[in-house]
Symmetry: C2
Subunit: 360 residues, 2 copies
């Protein structure tokens, strides 16, 4: 079978050129006689791979010098605990914005380790909006402000970085990082699980302002302490070397594509044409406020939901896979991460149009 168009929300499609290179190097990286997976993480080959990945990421995101880039494990779910363990002193409170399922998980974990104050919630609109900044009840004593710039399940995304004064702004960018340029200097800490726009599952990226290091709780496990990662260049223990290498190949590929301005243009075009077709179709619908529709995750429903299974089966037969919506909301979802080619979106729209004609 040839490659399909894979609309999975994550783990997600990777650039074919990157997979081909990984395949060609899998048994013998650059004449070393071994796979990257077999290399000591402390040897000169792997440390060069690791350093180049970080340098390319810094170039892509224009990361200021007073920010550290960390390569950790455990996914965003582990970050939900690491953020308060490192930034929330015992007895203090942090501000959290609730814009969906992932926000709620971050709030629940912070609440187990300290106090999480919800500044606003879009739950009353079933998370199809973003609470206006003017309505947020910020706590002047909060240690930081946490939000989720993109929520994968309902498909809402902040198009701008919210202004929160001098509080450290903490963002779970798992499903939006590298999809467009961002101003890193507006953030105290950014984290992102790799399995959408960075690389394979099992790697998590953290970008943290240096002044926020050194404040972990006394009983914080060593492997959850950002400072330990910063002091050891993310090699206190053996890092996920193959994931780090693949992330580096993705970063190189992104630079070759023209970097994040080029990706933003492509992503806006991809999402724009799909939303435009959905809105005009008279058969499909997306309930999200157009002011905060996600570029990365486009959920939609069929006018006749008894056709959902038929839609998914016929789409899969046409090489368009993983289009089922998250089990919490049902319906359909097309995730359009960086590695989804525009041809995939065109093929999806064409299939959707054809499906309406045959079944609508």
């Amino acid at each position: 079978m040839s490659r399909v168009f894979n609309f999975s929300a994550g783990p997600a499609v990777l650039p074919e050129a990157v997979l081909e290179r990984a395949r060609d190097e899998l048994l013998d990286w650059h004449g070393s006689g071994m796979s990257v997976m077999e290399m000591s993480h402390r040897g000169k080959d792997f440390t060069a791979i690791a350093a180049k990945a970080e340098a390319d990421l810094r170039r892509l995101l224009d990361v200021p010098d007073h920010y550290r880039v960390l390569f950790v494990q455990g996914g965003a779910s582990q970050q939900f605990a690491m953020v308060p363990l490192n930034l929330l002193p015992p007895g203090a409170s942090a501000d959290y914005l609730d814009t969906g399922t992932w926000s709620v998980k971050a709030i629940e974990e912070a609440s187990r380790l300290g106090r999480a104050h919800v500044v606003a919630s879009s739950q009353p609109t079933r998370y199809t909006t973003i609470p206006p900044r003017a309505d947020w009840q910020l706590d002047p004593e909060a240690a930081y402000v946490h939000y989720t710039p993109n929520e994968t399940i309902v498909g809402v995304e902040f198009l701008e970085v919210p202004e929160v004064g001098d509080k450290p702004l903490v963002a779970d960018m798992s499903s939006t990082i590298l999809s467009r340029p961002i101003d890193v200097s507006k953030f105290g800490l950014i984290y992102a699980g790799a399995q959408k726009n960075i690389g394979p599952a099992g790697l998590t990226l953290v970008i943290v302002r240096e002044d926020l290091l050194g404040h972990a709780r006394r009983d914080c496990p060593t492997m959850l302490d950002y400072t330990v990662f910063a002091q050891h260049d993310s090699m206190y223990n053996t890092p996920p070397t193959f994931g780090w290498y693949l992330a580096g190949l993705i970063f190189e590929w992104l630079l070759e594509q023209g970097g994040l301005p080029a990706m933003a243009e492509r992503n806006a075009r991809k999402a724009g044409k799909l939303y435009a077709y959905i809105d005009a179709s008279g058969f499909y619908r997306n309930p999200v406020d157009p002011a905060c529709r996600s570029w990365m995750n486009v959920p939609f429903r069929l006018a006749d939901e008894t056709l959902d299974k038929t839609f998914l089966a016929e789409a899969a037969a046409a090489g368009l896979t993983s289009l089922a919506g998250h089990r919490i909301v049902g319906g359909m979802r097309a995730s359009l991460y960086n590695a989804m080619p525009e041809a995939g979106v065109d093929a999806l729209i064409s299939f959707m149009r054809d499906f309406v004609q045959r079944r609508g």
Copy 2:
């Protein structure tokens, strides 16, 4: 360049047949049109891969039904914290045996989270022995007994499982798991970083007796709670899917090789011939008590240590790589994990013999 013989202590050599299969499947797993890396962890393809890996591991180790197998992240270093967070109630004490650097790290981390009582230490012999069981000062109130069956740096290994009565025995098997049959029922909990005998770095295996679940501390981060992993079949969040898949390929390969009895025979022969040559050489030496020499990690020193760099350079030129000892002890170290073919050991001995004739 062709493949080298890679004696790295970890990340380490993987079976060439496994790498070839991973390469061939990298862009299209079994006609799915996608890489395993691109699959949703909740889809039927990946859940089948995951379940088969666990089933094969259970077959290899003959894991009893009342033990759970967990696939986690963070390496053994994270287990150093997870073990006390899950098994050591606040205020209680656990027993630790000190047989080297990795034992010390486990003890230090447990001491940050509770009380760790050192029952015996081989530090006075520079960790070249194992303290006789009769000399261990076990605490009758200890929550569990922790030891390190194989220490990679000095190269000491327990040839038998110590008897500790009815206390849960906890073992860091990172560098010995799957090298020989073990009786899992003698343990409360076994953990192992993958990057020696299991697969690529970034995956950690935990085998835990069911009655030890459900006792995590109230403030234990969700992602450090064994019970959460057990309740969600290690998919509370996105697991390291590609590492899990590769581990499954390794388990299949081990079964094809004849399972752990066959590996034990091969590993005993590989290590045996290298130790025999070292002892007889009059030029190389290994300081470890022959009663506890590691099958997996064989450190040795040259009679003339000014030749160390020459030895390493000439070995690398001959396709024998990563033979430098750990930076703490210097000298040389040949790690002979399952994937190191006997031909690699033969080539090393032949090189060592030739080196003595030319330079000794």
